[in-house]
């Protein structure tokens, strides 16, 4: 008799713990052949608020880590992903990706993490400055993290898109509450498991699964989310901007699609710069 496999209960990764939705709601996901795979947590606005609380708690500690330490932790995450890439590629293929595409996307995702690991201790030199003011003052500008940033990932590519949006945000010391692809949420569940075994402190990245139409409005209006980075369509973009106005939230959209996510244009310093505040300090020079 064939051995019966043990199936996994997908749980979302919030505050460093694996939890179901507080609502106990789920939605079914099926593989490319239409066969049932698992029930995904259908996270609610309350789950989102809980995740924001976890992200806010983790924020000061993460921002105080040295840039070198953040760089090493991002690099460690890339090590974890490389070691378990077969599992991630397998899940992408299970939900409809062509294997060569999944493999290529996975390689790019890992290299992109390393790219941002390298930025963690460099972006400040490029985004900051010493300003030659016309008085006897030492005047300098440094970039600082914004705080809790909401990430709304694209449906496709589900994993590369999500990682490409999270990495530049956390590299500078922000913490993230991310909504995974609604259509292919399972790779984000696996990603949570890898985040948990990297050295990333719990709460720095919080991953939700569920329905965009239920959660996007709260991403827009939650006052403790200081910025939103979204792969969004026309009506969602308007709704995000509208809701964000109430707390003067920074909203950035990604307009990448398809193979653009693979290219170098999908990464870089500008994306870190989108999620920092600039602080300028004046100090007199004299004896």
């Amino acid at each position: 008799m064939n051995r019966i496999p043990v199936t996994k209960t997908p749980k979302v990764y919030i505050g460093g713990a694996f939890v179901r939705s507080e609502s106990a709601r789920t939605y079914k996901v099926s593989d490319r052949a239409g066969v049932f795979v698992a029930n995904m947590p259908q996270c609610t606005r309350k789950d989102l608020r809980n995740a924001v609380e976890a992200a806010a708690k983790a924020g000061p500690g993460w921002a105080r880590r040295t840039p070198y330490n953040r760089a090493q932790i991002l690099y460690r995450l890339a090590e974890m992903l490389e070691a378990r890439s077969a599992e991630l590629v397998g899940s992408l293929v299970q939900f409809g990706a062509r294997r060569p595409d999944a493999e290529k996307g996975m390689a790019v995702a890992i290299d992109r993490l390393i790219h941002y690991a390298g930025w963690a201790d460099k972006y400040a030199q490029l985004l900051g400055s010493v300003n030659p003011v016309a008085s006897a003052h030492f005047n300098f500008t440094v970039p600082e993290p914004m705080g809790v940033v909401g990430v709304i990932a694209p449906d496709s590519p589900p994993l590369l898109g999500l990682l490409s949006m999270i990495a530049p945000v956390i590299a500078s010391g922000n913490t993230v509450v991310a909504l995974a692809s609604e259509a292919v949420p399972y790779p984000a569940i696996l990603l949570g498991e890898m985040l948990a075994t990297s050295d990333l402190p719990g709460g720095v990245v919080n991953l939700l699964t569920g329905f965009r139409k239920e959660l996007v409005p709260t991403f827009a209006t939650h006052a403790h989310i200081r910025a939103v980075y979204a792969a969004a369509s026309g009506e969602e973009m308007r709704a995000l901007r509208l809701g964000a106005a109430g707390s003067v939230k920074r909203v950035r959209f990604t307009d990448l699609s398809g193979p653009q996510w693979l290219g170098e244009e999908a990464q870089g310093l500008d994306r870190i710069g989108d999620f920092v505040e600039l602080k300028t300090t004046w100090h007199p020079i004299g004896s």
Binding site: Y68, I114, G118, D121
Partner: protein, 493 residues
Amino acid sequence: MPTPRKPSAAGRGLIFGDLWEFDPAPETADPKLKERYELFIDGAFARPRTGKYFDSINPANERKLSEIALAGAADVDLAYKAAARAFPRWSALPGRERGKYLFRIARLLQDRAREFAVAETLDGGKPIKESRDFDVPMAAAHFFYHAGWADKLEYVAPGRRVVPLGVVGQVIPWNFPLLMLAWKLAPALAMGNCVVLKPAETTSITAMKLCEILQDADLPPGVVNLVTGAGETGAAVMGHPLAAKVAFTGSTEVGKAIMRQLAGTKKKMTMELGGKAANIIFDDAPIDQAVEGIVNAIFFNQGHVCCAGSRLLVQESVAERVVSKLKNRIRVLRVGDPLDKNTDLGAINSREQLSTIRRLVASGVREGAVMYQSPCVLPEKGFYFPPTLFTKVTQSHRIAREEIFGPVLSILTFRTVDEAIEKANNTAFGLSAGVWTDKGSRILRMSTELKAGVVWANTFNRFDPSSPFGGYKESGFGREGGRQGLLDYGALA
């Protein structure tokens, strides 16, 4: 009502060192030394064409540790040819892939950190707490930092394209053997250059151990080549026709000789040479912290530090207090077995360096400065020198002008800010300086006026891969670390 003055520092000083002996606390990790180290050329360990080897001894007890291949001109030539062969493919590799090799080197070095720390201490004489907590982790950090630059070179010189130079020749000193190697290799490789490097003859072991890591990291053959030997080998490395650039860290005297040797060639150069840093203590400084800072500035690594705070400038009004506290402090510095985890000052790197220190100290006494030495007991075998202070030093004394490169501090005084600036800048060197004061505005004024490449305020001897390091004037030119240091390994296309 004024509060009564506290008793003098000397009166309430706690001199534990006189009361009991520490138990020995030796670090016991295995340094995994080989009996003999060959050259590393084209990805493999190779016997030198000279057929000769020289001994590497432990300066703490004068016992032989290993023997090191002596590279002649023919070996240096082989190394350059291997590097030149490797250059086209290495430089054409996408930056993100080149960076992965450097990340591997950083991680593999972190894995073997304690082994390398013990080897470094045995070979060079520095206290294990320094090789363990500073040299080795900082070397790994340099590889890690520069690894991240390899795919970001378009940001190094915005608006311009930066390309690698080709083969770079590098000669490094004996005071921070592994760390100086990391400072040299990491930016050169990140930029896409290939390297021929010569470690110092008294401290080749950790460099050769790093070659094992280069092999484990699967670095393509020829990208890094190491040749060991003394001055003659170094001259061959600096003068080789295939060297597009040479980078040298060492004494100002040798730096000048290299500049003369290379006059008329098109080789790029960077020089990180000697120093005679002023460490300036104002009367509003937090004195206890400043005393700790003075101790760190001059006694770190037995004073074998090019940026050591070897000239203490103290404001007259606090000079007596500072000197008295300093004397108390250096009495309790533990001098001895470098492998002991409690040791503050280890062994002087070589017999030759010990005699240089003795010669300069004798000149200080002869020229009229007043010497105070810690009454510590030195081990019978090995090269040691006690922590030493000179007061009543004038600017014309040799001990105020020449780099001693040992645990010897020359103390001068000043009255005004302007006098401090004047005295601090009255030197041919300009590598570093220290300022101790409670006033931020004064720190920035001093930083503006001091002719030195690094100014430390209310701290000393701080280093970071992201922070450019290098000198003004006869302390050399070029920077190591940060974006600026990386640019020194590229050409603008």
